[in-house]
Symmetry: C2
Subunit: 108 residues, 2 copies
DNA sequence: TTGTTATATCGAAATATTTCGATGTGAGAA
DNA sequence: TTCTCACATCGAAATATTTCGATATAACAA
């Protein structure tokens, strides 16, 4: 199952409404954590938790500047995510041999 | 938060290793549940649970044929998922006004 | 009808994720 | 150094997801 763990990690970053809200904010441009904090309805430690997940997925990247951290959407990470999504949903036409069960499932 | 629920649903379908494994199997072409069952390490009721999530996300579609159900990757659903992913990670360049905090976070 | 097969649903347990408050760390200001 | 601010980490509670076994439903065969 480890083969899929990395893909799962990328999509896990995208399946929480708070993280989607954060991404929406970051679409406006780079923002510091405190600015995100203002616009999201969770406490500081929770925001920190979500930012870690977003950064580890590669979709968001961070820059440290003194005591602040600025976050922005990573073009590279986003492109990779799109690429993964395309890949995992891409039907390999060469192998498209559909079998049909008759009377009793043939597979068993 | 309801604005993001549908997007979250699509990505939720993709963040479980069993469902990713199932998608990989479906990339070979349409398959009946019993064939999927053979290749995945969960009991029947669990497979049924996962298939429901995949179908409800739109990424997989099902066809009923007598007592069998055939599943395949939905081209339309996959394209929509890719589109959503592009959209939520697309930085709006027009608004790209980055602000920097100085001395004390300006946002607060 | 009765039996068998394929799939769905339910309830409970196991597991994972999210949340918060408290506290830790590290940077810069005083 | 000491204080404050920004952010991270920890532990515990709350919540959500996943799993299984038991049972239900529906289709077809006998």
């Amino acid at each position: 199952m480890d083969k899929f763990s990395n893909d799962a990690k990328v999509f896990k970053a995208l399946c929480d409404v708070n993280r989607l809200k954060i991404l929406e904010l970051l679409r406006e441009g780079e923002k510091c954590a405190c600015e995100l904090q203002e616009n999201v309805d969770i406490v500081q430690s929770s925001l920190s938790y979500h930012m870690k997940i977003l950064v580890e997925s590669g979709i968001v990247e961070s820059t440290h500047d003194g005591k602040w951290i600025y976050y922005k959407i990573s073009q590279d990470g986003s492109d990779k995510a799109v690429e993964i999504l395309r890949e995992i949903t891409n039907v390999d036409d060469k192998n498209k041999a559909t079998h049909r069960c008759t009377s009793k499932c043939l597979v068993k």
